[in-house]
């Protein structure tokens, strides 16, 4: 018996009862469509998240004040710490350092007000965070030295206050009532709502220390975060070690009693990958269950089919069909049924993924579901395997029928 002939016969037999075959296939169709859609949405989400994180830079290290829960005495991060980390003799693996103060601020212009995030930084921040401007220039060293009242607007802030992101350089906005001259507008980095990376304003660090921190009554030297860029991506762990050693020495703390926390861009990437991985496994599990249910449906129908065709099986045996011939015949039928369901399911899942992508785009999220070759292969192999597995029992029942009894069956 030969494959092509078997396949042809299986198709003939399946198409002779289209409604039944179609309904049986439906279980597999839904299962495979779910697998494809889930995997592609999962992969798209993870690609979108890693893309957003990668944009920030992979050789970035964050240092924030505060350590483990049992550390009670916390020294703040200071400009002195930042300068020590920036010293190439103490930390050769660190390329650039960007100290930063953050707070909330109300930006007003012509009676319009917008509450946003204030970032006070030095000139190096532009390179560390990969800031690109759509208009104007970023803060330079002179403006930091001179405590200049200049501001760079995030694109969301510019949009909100002026309705545009161009032609704003030279205009004045008020931060907490104090006038600042706009010197640049950032290019949009994407994200929306809470995830927006464009809803902030940036001013020189020294200006913030003089105008805002002193007013709040805090130590003028105090920093909210130090960003460091390592010389290469490979040097990130070495740079972290160097930074930790410098800070422990300066803060006089022992290993394990750190009053500061460092984390790497790579940690965030890893966490994101873990979350999306768990999500994908979870959704894949649900899809696998629906495939299982579909497979049981196939087994059920194949058992009915074997009973209905007992006489045909008897005849085939009388004409010389061996056990194996009958087994292959019914396995081909169930695998064909399942595989056809799988292929339809792949197309349906593809469509579902595409629809999700369209909805995401329409609601302003930059998110593209990815239907990978691997998930198509997986779905194809899996659906054929389901057909074979759930076909084994009915087929072996058919194959072990005794010809005399099968021929007598009415």
């Amino acid at each position: 018996m030969f494959l092509a002939q078997n396949l042809l016969e299986a198709l003939e037999s399946l198409t002779s009862n289209k409604l039944r075959s179609g309904l049986t296939m439906l279980g597999i169709v839904i299962g495979v469509a779910a697998v494809i859609a889930m995997l592609s949405v999962g992969q798209g989400a993870s690609a979108s998240i890693t893309g957003a994180i990668n944009e920030i830079g992979t050789n970035l290290i964050f240092v924030i004040p505060g350590g483990q829960e049992d550390v009670t005495v916390t020294r703040p991060l200071t400009m002195g710490d930042a300068r020590a980390i920036a010293d190439p003799l103490q930390a050769p693996s660190v390329l650039l350092v960007a100290p930063m103060i953050q707070s909330r601020v109300d930006v007003t212009v012509g009676g319009q007000s917008h509450s946003t995030q204030l970032q006070a930084v030095t000139a190096d921040y532009q390179q560390v965070r990969n800031v690109t401007l759509s208009d104007g220039e970023f803060i330079n060293d002179d403006q930091v030295l001179g405590r200049a009242s200049v501001v760079v607007l995030g694109s969301d802030v510019a949009d909100n206050l002026f309705g545009t992101t161009v032609g704003l350089v030279g205009e004045t906005v008020r931060l907490q009532g104090q006038p600042f001259r706009i010197i640049g507008v950032e290019e949009s980095k994407g994200g929306s709502g809470f995830a927006s990376q464009d809803d902030h304003v940036t001013i020189p660090l020294t200006t913030a220390q003089a105008r805002f921190t002193a007013q709040r009554g805090g130590a003028p030297d105090r920093l909210d975060m130090i960003l460091a860029q390592s010389v290469t991506t490979e040097a990130v762990p070495q740079a972290v070690t160097e930074i930790e050693e410098i800070l422990r020495l300066r803060h006089r703390v022992q290993v394990g009693k750190d009053d500061f926390t460092t984390f790497k861009q790579q940690d965030i990437l890893q966490t994101a990958a873990q979350i999306t991985g768990v999500l994908t496994i979870f959704l894949g599990g649900i899809a696998a269950i629906s495939l299982l249910v579909g497979g049981i449906g196939i087994m059920n129908i194949m058992l009915v089919s074997v009973t209905e065709r007992t006489r045909e099986i008897g005849l085939r045996k009388a004409l010389g069909a061996r056990r194996r011939d009958i087994l292959i015949q019914f396995l081909t039928e169930s695998a064909t049924l399942s595989l056809a369901g799988g292929i339809i399911g792949i197309l349906l899942g593809w469509f579902m993924a595409w629809a999700v992508g369209q909805i995401a785009t329409a609601t302003g999220n930059d998110f593209t579901p990815v239907v990978g070759v691997d998930s198509i292969l997986l779905a194809t192999i899996f659906s054929a395997a389901v057909g074979l597995f759930f076909g084994i029992y009915p087929a072996s029942r058919a194959a072990s029928l005794q010809p005399v009894e099968a021929l007598r069956y009415e």
């Binding site: 006489r311 085939r316 010389g320 061996r322 005794q402 005399v404």
Partner: protein, 233 residues
Amino acid sequence: MSDCVICLENVTKTYRMGEIEVNALAGVSMRIRRGEAVAIMGPSGSGKSTLMNILGCLDRPTSGRYELDGETVETLNDDALAAIRNRKVGFVFQSFNLLGRATALANVELPLRYAGMRKGRRERATLTLESVGLGDRIRHRPTELSGGQQQRVAIARALVNEPAMVLADEPTGNLDSRSGAEILQLLMQLNRERGTTLIVVTHDSSVAAKTQRVIRLRDGLIEAEYVPGSEPA
């Protein structure tokens, strides 16, 4: 014994139905020569069907010896029996037993496929269909054929592997008298011209009358053997 296609020696078949044992065949011995046309007759319950199943290698005897075309059958396993049926036995059934979805050609090709034949199946099946007078119907499905034509397809299917014998179980039972007569004539003609050994199981004495020898069964034993026309009382 080389001129014997079938050689049965003291064959018995016992069925167990719950507590009761039924002796369907109580010890049958017979020989059928190559090229012979034999009718097996007997009332229902005489063991006719059981004997046919054993002759056709669909079932094994409980005891006794059965040699078909020089091969000892009673010790073979299921797959070996399937191979014997495929090569040495051609079945013609009362209810035709054609595959309804397949064309006449595909039905006749089926035994060739199970024989593992790869090339020339179509040609051989076509030739066989022509030899039973259906050369112009090879693409038709059973539902598009008359009863007589369907039985001709079945005969072509039985002959296509050139078996040692053709085993026909009431071949005219589902046909009107005219096409029944034609089918019988075809079977006898094949027996004469090709020398195919023919065994017809029937309770129709007019069918039996066309054969060379009649074996009559009763209660699982051979009751009588005679040449048609010289029927014992």
